[in-house]
Structures are given as structure tokens and as C-alpha cells.
Amino acid sequence: MDQLYREAIIDHYKHPRHKGHLPDPDIHYHDTNPFCGDEVTIELKVEDGVVVDAAFDGRGCAISQASASMMMEEIIGMPVEELRQWTKEDILDMLGIEIGPVRLKCALLPLKALKAGLWGLEEWPE
């Protein structure tokens, strides 16, 4: 448990960074995890192929929400092309914890939303 719920995870969960909405986002993507009821919305401002601002909104377990919060800090300033290549491993490195197959869906929900947004997927109508 010390592994799964290390302090940084709890801290990001209780004090999320960049939580909210951007005034005029270039990219907006909302996704859910029906198993947990986790929800994440990602908004990005992109200039010259670089993410210049990012915000997320959502609700759910500590793993999904901390993953989104940490991801916002990571991606600001990064080129879109690089982020499009992000994988599961990048998220697990960022979280710094080991996660079993069931909770992996929680950890990867923000990545799923980010990549769907970056690749221009249309949002699934609610």
C-alpha cells in the first residue's frame, strides 16, 4: 500500500494541479472508465505544435485523478508530436508505482483522453 499510495499520489489527489478549464482550449476531450465511474476531461492550448497550457477536470479514485494532475505538470511545454508517442510506460514512470491490471485502467484514463484529443478523435456523445 505504501507503494500504491505513496505521498505524491495522495498529494496530487487532494491538491490537484491545473484542475479546471481553459478559457479557449484548442483541444478538449472527455473520457470515462465505466468500471470505476472515473471521469476525466482534458483541455489543451497548443501554439506552434507545443502545448502551452493544459487543464483537467474530473472525478474518481486517487489513482486516476493523481495521474491526470501529474500529467498536466508534465505536458506543459512539450511538443504535441512527442506526446502523441507517449505510452503506458511514460505514465507508470510518472506515477512511480506498480499497478495491477484492474487499476491500470484508472491510471491510464488521462493518457487515453490526452491521446484521443491529440490525435483528433471525435468525442463519444454522452
Binding site: 499510495y5 495522495i10 498529494d11 468500471f35 470505476c36 465511474g37 474518481g60 479514485c61 486517487a62 489513482i63
Partner: protein, 417 residues
């Protein structure tokens, strides 16, 4: 809590029960397993495991077909199991015990056969807001095809059925009242007699989802007065893949078959077929033979322990757990007080998502459920996405409740940063 010291007889009996469940010997993350997810599925005692093993080792054969010895032995074991299961719930005849995969399939069977033959535009089916998805979705699917109206009895803020509008909800258009006996989330034991009486007064049929009652309390299907009663084997110490539909004889006789195939026919000609007698009319194809025999062994075992004893033991556990859990800061219990509920408690803990809570408890070897427990409308009603749930069975102990509560306190600490 001022629990009286348990009697030596009780301590002895509980130890004997626990010794019959091999899985209780294992450790999870280095801690003894504390299994509190019994509403999802229960553990299996040795007599059930041995019954499956013996069938496969000694007399594995198809039933109702062969003339050879193994097939006769398998048929006898399978049909004897049906007989004991019928007695277990006091069905008038084993012909009225239809084997299905589980309670979900039993409800779907009623929907597809009785429902298709009896429901149409202008008719109403009445369920409740606390139903498991298995007693909502089959009716929604059928509703789209047949055009009847699906209505529900709402919930009170205390987690019981709000019967104040019952007279209007049950009316001349009502053809079926289908409800859960004991809620798998709230634990609420519903007032069966009142609901059956209301349904009868307008000539509506009654289906009772007894998945959370038959395993835990004495259930007499004739005394319930329902037309259909459904339950699952795996929630009552039996194997997965076997469930029961009990039905009133004349209804079962009238109903068209469910699935078509072997075993459910009397005569097949290319121009048409005639159906087999009860219960086989509803059991197409090779059934879950080992699982049926295993469920027979499960009811023998539950009878041996005593279903009254199991119910009383769960009462003790749930009263104690309710009191202890109420003292955890930020913990909110869903549903009514301990005297109006079965042996389970669903709850939320402020600031800790149920999935995180379940993960933290798992590190201490404690298995609980987290999520919407296949009852999303119920969670919507109380403005929640998910909850955590501890559910008890005959092998659980007061010490395990203490460890659960200690685990909850620990979760509060982890998230108190």
C-alpha cells in the same frame, strides 16, 4: 461493543465451519484472507469441491440420454440434486425447479417466455429503484420490443421502498411486479407480503429476486406466495454456472420454451416439434451437470449447518459491524439500521474513493467490493458514483469485523495527508 463472550459450543462450531473452507487458510499479501465479498460470490466448502471432483473422476457422463452405467449414475446424481434443492426452498415439486446459469438467466428466461406471451402496449411491469441490473435490463430490452411500460417503486432517504404511492403504481394495467427480496447494496429486507398482496389485488404476477436471501435465511417459496423466485448457486456455497428458476406449475406449463435444442423436446420432425415436460422444456442442451450436483452438495451442507443458525450468525455480525463502522469518522452507511437488513453493509468513506479503499484493505488481506454493485440507478438516487461493501457469510467472525474497522481507520490515515 458489549458483546457477550461467545459460548464454547459456538466457538467450536465456527471453527468447524471454517475448517470446511480450504480457501480461508490462504494468505493475501502476507495476511490471513478475510473474505467479505460474499454478496458477489461465496467461498466453497469441501463437500462441494469433493462433489465436483468425484463427478469428474468417477461418473462423468451426459444426463438423460445414455443407457450405460455412468450416464445413469450422472442422471441420478443430477436429478437428486434438483430434488434436494426443491426441498431446500420448499418447492412443491422438483419439476418446478428449472436449472439455469444463474439468477440473471432465470429472470431473462421469464422475460423471454412469460413476458413475450403476456406483455404488450398498455401493460405495465413494476420494479423498484433498488434492483440489481439483472432485474432492470431484461425488462428494458423487452420493453423496446413489446411496447409495455416499465415503472418503479421509488426509495425513501432511509433506503427502504417508498410504498406511499403503491396504490397508484399497482393498477389494472400492472401485469408483473418484480422485485428484490434483499437488496445487494442497501441490505434492505423488502416487505414481500405487502407487495405480493398488492400485486394479487390486481391480478398481476410476482417475481422475486432471492439471490441475496436464499443463501442467508430460510426461504419458503410457497410461503412467499410469488409466481417466480430466482437465485444463484454460487452465492450459496455452490459452484458458478448453476442457478434456479422456481415457478408456479400452471404458469410454467403455459409458458413457451426458452432456448431450443436437445433435451427440451419430446418429438422433433422437420415440420415442427413438441416440447418436453417440466422442467426439461426450459433446459435445452447439455446442462451444467457437475454444477447442479455441486449445488445439491451445497444445500446439504447449508442444511447441516442450519440456515437458521446462518441467519442468526449474520445478524450478530451485521449488528456488530454496523455499530463499529458507525464510529469511523466520515463513514456513511447506506440503507436502514441493522435490524432491517441482511448481512451486508455498503458505505462510503469521506475523502477516500471506494476503489482506493478496496485496494488499501486488500493490502491487509481484506476482500471487499467497490463500485456500483450492478445497481447504478440506486447509486444515482443517492447522488453517488460508487460505494464500498462488506458482505458476510457463515464463516465470518467478529474478529474479522474488528480487522475491517482497523483497516478503515488506516485508510483514513493514509488519506489524511
Amino acid at each position: 461493543m458489549t458483546t457477550q463472550a461467545p459460548s464454547p459450543d459456538f466457538v467450536q462450531k465456527l471453527a468447524e465451519i471454517r475448517a470446511q473452507f480450504p480457501v480461508l487458510e490462504r494468505e493475501v499479501h502476507g495476511k490471513p484472507l478475510i473474505y467479505l465479498d460474499n454478496a458477489a460470490t461465496t467461498q466453497k466448502p469441501l463437500p462441494v469441491i469433493q462433489a465436483l471432483d468425484e463427478y469428474y473422476r468417477r461418473y462423468n457422463a451426459n444426463v438423460h440420454r445414455g443407457v450405460h452405467t455412468l450416464s445413469e449414475e450422472a442422471t441420478a446424481a443430477y436429478e437428486n440434486a434438483r430434488l434436494r434443492i426443491a426441498r431446500f426452498v420448499n418447492a412443491p415439486s422438483p419439476k418446478q425447479v428449472i436449472f439455469t446459469r444463474n439468477a440473471t438467466e432465470s429472470i431473462n428466461l421469464v422475460a423471454h417466455t412469460w413476458g413475450r406471451a403476456n406483455l404488450g402496449p398498455g401493460d405495465e411491469v413494476l420494479i423498484t429503484e433498488m434492483e440489481h441490473h439483472s432485474n432492470i435490463v431484461p425488462w428494458q430490452i423487452l420493453q423496446e420490443q413489446l411496447g409495455f411500460t416499465l415503472r418503479h417503486i421509488p426509495l425513501t432517504s432511509q433506503g427502504t421502498l417508498d410504498l406511499s404511492q403503491l396504490d397508484g403504481l399497482v393498477n389494472q394495467r400492472t401485469k408483473l411486479v418484480s422485485f428484490v427480496h434483499v437488496s445487494n447494496v442497501l441490505g434492505t429486507v423488502n416487505p414481500v407480503a405487502r407487495l405480493v398482496e398488492a400485486a394479487r389485488s390486481v391480478g398481476a404476477k410476482v417475481l422475486i429476486d432471492a439471490a441475496q436471501s436464499v443463501p442467508h435465511m430460510p426461504v419458503d417459496v410457497q410461503a412467499l406466495g410469488a409466481d417466480f423466485v430466482v437465485f444463484s448457486g454460487h452465492k450459496m456455497a455452490g459452484p458458478t454456472g448453476i442457478g434456479v428458476l422456481y415457478g408456479r406449475r400452471e404458469l410454467l406449463e403455459e409458458m413457451p420454451p426458452f432456448l431450443g435444442g436437445g433435451d427440451m423436446i419430446r418429438e422433433v420432425k422437420l415440420s415442427g416439434s413438441r416440447w418436453n415436460a417440466l422442467p426439461y422444456k426450459f433446459e435445452a442442451g447439455t446442462p451444467s451437470i457437475a454444477q447442479g450436483i455441486g449445488l445439491g452438495a451445497a444445500v446439504d451442507y447449508l442444511n447441516q449447518v442450519g440456515v437458521d443458525w446462518i441467519w442468526e450468525h449474520e445478524r450478530t455480525l451485521v449488528r456488530y459491524a454496523y455499530e463499529q463502522m458507525s464510529q469511523v469518522e466520515g463513514l456513511r452507511i447506506l440503507g436502514p439500521g441493522p435490524e432491517e437488513r441482511g448481512g451486508l453493509i455498503a458505505f462510503t468513506l469521506e475523502g477516500v474513493h471506494p476503489h482506493d479503499l478496496a485496494a488499501i484493505l486488500d493490502m491487509d488481506g481484506i476482500a471487499i467490493r467497490a463500485g456500483h454493485h450492478c445497481a447504478q440507478p440506486l447509486h444515482d438516487r443517492y447522488g453517488m458514483v460508487a460505494s464500498a461493501r462488506a458482505s458476510f457469510y457463515l464463516y465470518n467472525t467478529l474478529e474479522e469485523v474488528d480487522k475491517l474497522v482497523a483497516g478503515l481507520e488506516k485508510a483514513v490515515d493514509v488519506f489524511a495527508l
